[in-house]
């Protein structure tokens, strides 16, 4: 079966800056595909190109076999797009916004209510409130309803959970999973590494390049190093002391502790590390931890920089 959404070698520059560097990916139906990367990685640019708003310098793409350049008008009536910034009419009420977006696509709220029911039930009590007066999480739910109400064939959600509290974020991802089961493929981007695990497949994107693309479970499993957590220390002092030791691949600050990545075959490296530390910071705590997604991403970023 043809992948539903396809991008092939998409490149985009803004002046001297390379925003996207030969980005290719495919998304199948019944899939949540996540772009994970920090601000400025090129996620929004990629979304604007895939939703036909922006013209790429080179490369091609298609959605449901419609070309993003040639058939942009058709694509615009079959996709749902939620931009990175809240982009509904702040001075219209919740219900009016939803009605407006249903009507311009030639449908009604009633006709597609089943699609948004789970999300809209939470919004219903505020239906007469102006969209601008909603909380962050509510705004995102409304925006999702508006992107869904015309029963799109694919959803593009650009950083839908940015600036939303953790509880609402979890609810939001639950909603996405329900939508996926209705057969609508979802392309979503997020700067939050912990959300990667909610996607079926992810692409790690940094400085316009896809570093790695796979299921989140596989990415973590393939992580070929040991991560040590070093705490109860002065971070700066500790980093200075160990940064030049042999075998240490990377050191990243995680809250109050440092995550130190060392290669798998490492007993001598860890011994060396312990002896160095005990001479200057006697009461340090060092333990091996299971690498999470963020460790993988940071490690990949570091490898990328060394290339």
């Amino acid at each position: 079966m043809q992948p539903f959404i396809k991008a092939d070698e998409i490149t985009k520059t803004y002046g001297q800056t390379l925003a996207l560097d030969r980005v290719s990916f495919e998304v199948n139906q019944n899939e949540i595909f996540g772009f994970i990367g920090p601000d400025g990685a090129g996620k929004s640019t990629l979304f604007q190109i895939m939703t036909t708003l922006l013209i790429p310098d080179s490369g091609s793409g298609s959605i449901n076999e419609l070309d993003i350049a040639k058939n942009y008008k058709e694509i615009r009536s079959i996709i749902g797009y939620m931009p990175g910034r809240f982009s509904l009419y702040q001075d219209l009420t919740v219900a009016e916004n939803l009605k407006f977006y249903a009507n311009i696509f030639g449908t009604t709220i009633k006709a597609n209510y089943e699609l948004i029911k789970n999300i809209y039930d939470l919004l219903e009590p505020f239906s007469k409130r102006k969209a601008g007066d909603l909380s962050g999480g509510m705004k995102q739910k409304l925006a999702l309803c508006c992107a869904l109400i015309h029963q799109p064939k694919a959803l593009f959600l650009d950083e839908p959970t940015t600036g939303v509290d953790p509880v609402s974020r979890t609810e939001f991802w639950d909603n996405l999973t329900q939508i996926k089961h209705l057969g609508i493929p979802i392309v979503v981007s997020t700067p939050y590494m912990d959300e990667a695990i909610r996607c079926d497949r992810v692409a790690l994107i940094h400085k316009g390049r896809i570093l790695k693309m796979d299921t989140p479970q596989k990415i973590i499993a393939e992580f070929s190093a040991t991560v040590l957590s070093l705490s109860n220390i002065d971070k700066h002092q500790a980093r200075e002391a160990i940064k030049n030791l042999e075998g240490i691949e990377s050191i990243f600050a995680f809250g109050d502790s440092l995550h130190i990545t060392v290669s798998k075959d490492n007993s001598s490296i860890i011994d060396n590390l312990r002896s160095t530390l005990s001479s200057i910071i006697p009461d340090y705590k060092l333990s091996e931890i299971t690498p999470d997604f963020e460790d993988c991403f940071l490690q990949l970023m570091k490898e990328e920089q060394n290339v």
Binding site: T51, T52, I55, R76, S77, Y81, L88, Y89, L92, G106
Partner: protein
């Protein structure tokens, strides 16, 4: 068509819900026309002029009485040119009228008498007005004397015929109408469209079956309706408070005003395609449209007094043509053929501006 109605509804909802913004849209022009209309008067009353009557005969005395008869001038007779000039210099009088010694004999023989008018041009507006009033008084006088010609000293302004009292409101009210409609229409559309851009809603609209033209027309129609209310308010004020006459057809007046509004709306649309923020749109509308409309349309400063290159620019001002049409309809009841070219120019401007704007309105970005 159905999509268009949905869009218009979406535009009107917030306007009608927020009575404050609606009332500003309607009250602002009202306040503006009242303020400017009352302040911007170039009429003169009891202006002191020095009269050096070298003839001192029956006809010259009669002329001076005539001058004083109206409430426009207070004549102060002097006995020498030096004295007159001293008064002028010390700002006691604004003008000197010198009557030649052979005034009476020339009049009696139906010859051209010699009159000299010296004006203090420190304030050119007042000077021009004095010149025009003087012209009117002299014309009257000579006509009553049964003379067959007009004084050569002063040229005759054709407008005078339709505005014999030289009421300045006849000139300023059409100007005001054009400035206010320009402000409302261009400012409102440009700001409203740029807001969609700024808020990101435009991108969401573009990813929908809505056609660009539907978005534009949907934006324009609600403000055209507001403009229609404004036209009504302004005209009622013009006819009641400022006692503007309506010599021609009211329907024609409204239709032409709507055409002018469309032109201004198109300009607002053009501005919005080029500005990225509401502030920019507002500044460009105010500085780029309001000022030139006020200054270059002939509303305050006569176009014929401008340097040639500036006169050339006035041809590009929609208000210039609109004011001309307004004067024709309100004051003269001219046949449509008299201002058909002006209507044609306005129509052409609207079409060209709309075409450029549509071309600039990007549905896909680079």
């Amino acid at each position: 068509m159905h999509n268009l109605l949905i869009f218009i509804r979406k535009e009107i909802l917030p306007i009608q819900r927020d009575p404050r913004s609606l009332s500003i849209m309607i009250l602002m022009p009202l306040a503006e026309i009242l303020l400017i209309g009352f302040v911007m008067r170039f009429e003169i009353e009891h202006t002191n002029i020095a009269v050096y009557d070298m003839a001192k005969q029956h006809s010259s005395v009669q002329l001076i009485q005539r001058l004083e008869g109206g409430k426009r001038f207070s004549a102060k007779t002097v006995d020498s040119m030096e004295e007159a000039e001293r008064l002028l210099k010390s700002n006691k009088v604004k003008a000197i009228l010198r009557i030649s010694p052979d005034f009476e004999s020339k009049i009696l023989n139906d010859n051209e008498p010699t009159l000299q008018l010296i004006l203090d041009a420190i304030d050119p507006n007042t000077a021009t007005t004095i010149e025009a009033y003087m012209n009117a008084v002299l014309n009257d006088y000579f006509r009553d004397q049964g003379m067959s010609y007009s004084p050569q000293l002063l040229k005759i302004d054709q407008l005078m015929y339709y505005n014999p009292m030289l009421k300045s409101v006849y000139g300023t009210v059409p100007g005001l109408i054009s400035v206010i409609l320009m402000l409302i229409c261009a400012l409102m559309t440009s700001v409203s469209l740029t807001r969609e851009k700024e808020m990101g809603t435009l991108n969401v609209l573009l990813i929908s079956p809505l056609k660009p033209i539907q978005i534009i027309i949907g934006k324009v129609i609600p403000y055209l309706l507001v403009s229609l209310v404004n036209i009504a308010v302004i005209l009622v004020l013009a006819f009641t408070v400022f006692k503007m006459p309506l010599a021609g057809s009211l329907l024609l007046l409204i239709l032409v005003s709507l055409l002018y509004c469309l032109c201004a709306l198109a300009l607002g649309f053009l501005i919005s395609t080029k500005s990225q923020s509401q502030q920019v749109a507002m500044m460009v509308s105010l500085a780029g449209l309001m000022l030139p409309t006020t200054l270059l349309s002939g509303m305050i400063y006569p176009i014929k007094n401008m340097p040639m290159w500036l006169q050339g620019i006035t041809y590009l001002m929609p208000a210039r043509w609109f004011i001309n049409i307004l004067k024709h309809i309100m004051l003269k009841a001219s046949p449509v053929s008299a201002f058909l070219p002006d209507i044609g120019i306005l129509l052409l401007m609207t079409l060209v501006i709309t075409a450029i704007s549509l071309h600039n309105f990007k549905v896909r970005f680079k």
